[in-house]
Each structure stands twice: as structure tokens, then as C-alpha cells.
Amino acid sequence: MNEPVATDEQLAAEAQREGSDGPAFVELLDRFRDRVWRICYRLLGNEHDAQDAAQEVFVRLFTHRGKFAGRSKYSTWVHGVAVRTCLTLRRGRGRRQRRVVLAGEATLEVGPKTSATADASVRLDLHQMLEVLDEEDRALLILKYAEDYNYDELAAVFELSVSACKMRISRARVKLKKRFPDQITD
């Protein structure tokens, strides 16, 4: 007979009772590894930083496991921690260093002179474009367009109202449109 699968919230409650990273935390790590990795990669843009950030996210999930009060879904809380961790790491590094990394990546990715070249340049363009935004607006746009979050999910992750999310995304698009009129449509 199959045992009933524990929900994320049940596992989180179990992890709160564990003194160390026990079976419940390991199960949560297993469930959210891919999701956290995607968020970190999208927000940081390279594998090395994404791996560092994803590990840091799980350390924070462990050390702050007593703070999950169950007011939202556990997955939403995890996504919020992941986004805040990435934003903290990005703020810590500074924009100049990021540009160097992105330029290096673009050079490395340019191999055969076909679609790969175009893709790398588009990617560099995209990241350069998004650098004009502040960190939170940039993260909102990436999660909205790259990960297809809806406004309710964004509002829960960023702890904003739905209308505030819509307004910030709209303002971010206007700002991009002003700077790059050819790339952004109305």
C-alpha cells in the first residue's frame, strides 16, 4: 500500500522540528532544487553565480525554517526567498563586474557564425537593456516574461499588491521603451 505523499507545508512543519538538515529538509531540497535553480539562473545570468545563489537559498531556507508561518503556500515562500537572495547577491557584486561577465559569456558563446552568434548578441542586448532598470523591476520583468509568472504569483513572491505589480511592470516597460524604442512595442 502506498503511503500518502506529504504536502510541502507538512514537510516544512516537520523540518521546523528537526534540529539539523534531516529527512524532511532533504525531501524539500529535492522538490525545489530545479525550481530554485531556474529562478537563480534567470536572475543572475550565469551558471557559477546561479549555483552559488541556489545553495545560499537552501541555507537560508534551513536557517529561517522557523519563520514560515503558513500564511502562504510554501512554494511561494521559497520563491520569495530565492528572489530576495539573488537580489542581495546582485547588489553585492555591483554592475560593473556583471557587465564584464556578460561580455565574456557572449564572446564564449559566439562559435559558428550562424544563429548562435545572433542568439548571443540578442542575449547580451537583453541583459544590457535590463541593466537600466532597478533590481526589483528587473526581477519582476524576468519572472513575468521568462518564467511566465502571473500577476497573482508575482504579488505573492514580491509581497506587493497585484495592482502594484502591474504598475511596476508597466513603468519598467515605459522606461525600456524610452531607452530602446526599436526593441519594445507598446
Partner: protein
């Protein structure tokens, strides 16, 4: 180039995450390191001051005895004595 460059964000593939064994091992190592640091901080901020306080009381008692030639009167636990008498 697409009419809206933002729409192209979704087209960029995310590489697969690092192998779970390596990743989990690194996470556990970092968690253990964090726990060790937290325990040291807790020890320094809580246990050490507590121990120092008791040590200083003993030193104070020794100095008091050296000066006055008498031990400080020890406070009696009155609640315990009362309960003992009631039995």
C-alpha cells in the same frame, strides 16, 4: 529580431541544474558550516557571559573575604524551606 525583445526572454534555455549529488553535498556542507558558526556565536554571546558572571561573583566573594575576614551571607531559598516545613 522580434518586435518585442522581452518576449525573447522565455526562449533562452536554462541549463540543467548541477548533478543532485554534488549540489546536495555542497548544500549540506554549507548548512553544517552555518550551524557551526551559529553555535559558536550563541556560545560567545550567551554561555560565556553567563560563565564570566559566575566567575566574577566568586572573585568578588574572595576579595570580600580577604578584606573583611568574613564570608558573605548566603541567601536562603525561602520558598523551598517553607515547602519543606509544610511537609
Amino acid at each position: 529580431m522580434a518586435s518585442d525583445l522581452l518576449e525573447q526572454l522565455a526562449r533562452h534555455e536554462v541549463p540543467p541544474p548541477p548533478p543532485s549529488a554534488t549540489f546536495d553535498h555542497d548544500v549540506h556542507r554549507r548548512v553544517n558550516h552555518t550551524l557551526a558558526v551559529l553555535h559558536v556565536v550563541e556560545f560567545v554571546l550567551q554561555a560565556l557571559p553567563h560563565a564570566l558572571l559566575h566567575f566574577m561573583r566568586a572573585v568578588g566573594g574572595l576579595i570580600g573575604f580577604t578584606i573583611t575576614g568574613q564570608f558573605r551571607p548566603v541567601k536562603q531559598d525561602t520558598t523551598k524551606r517553607d515547602s519543606d516545613e509544610s511537609v
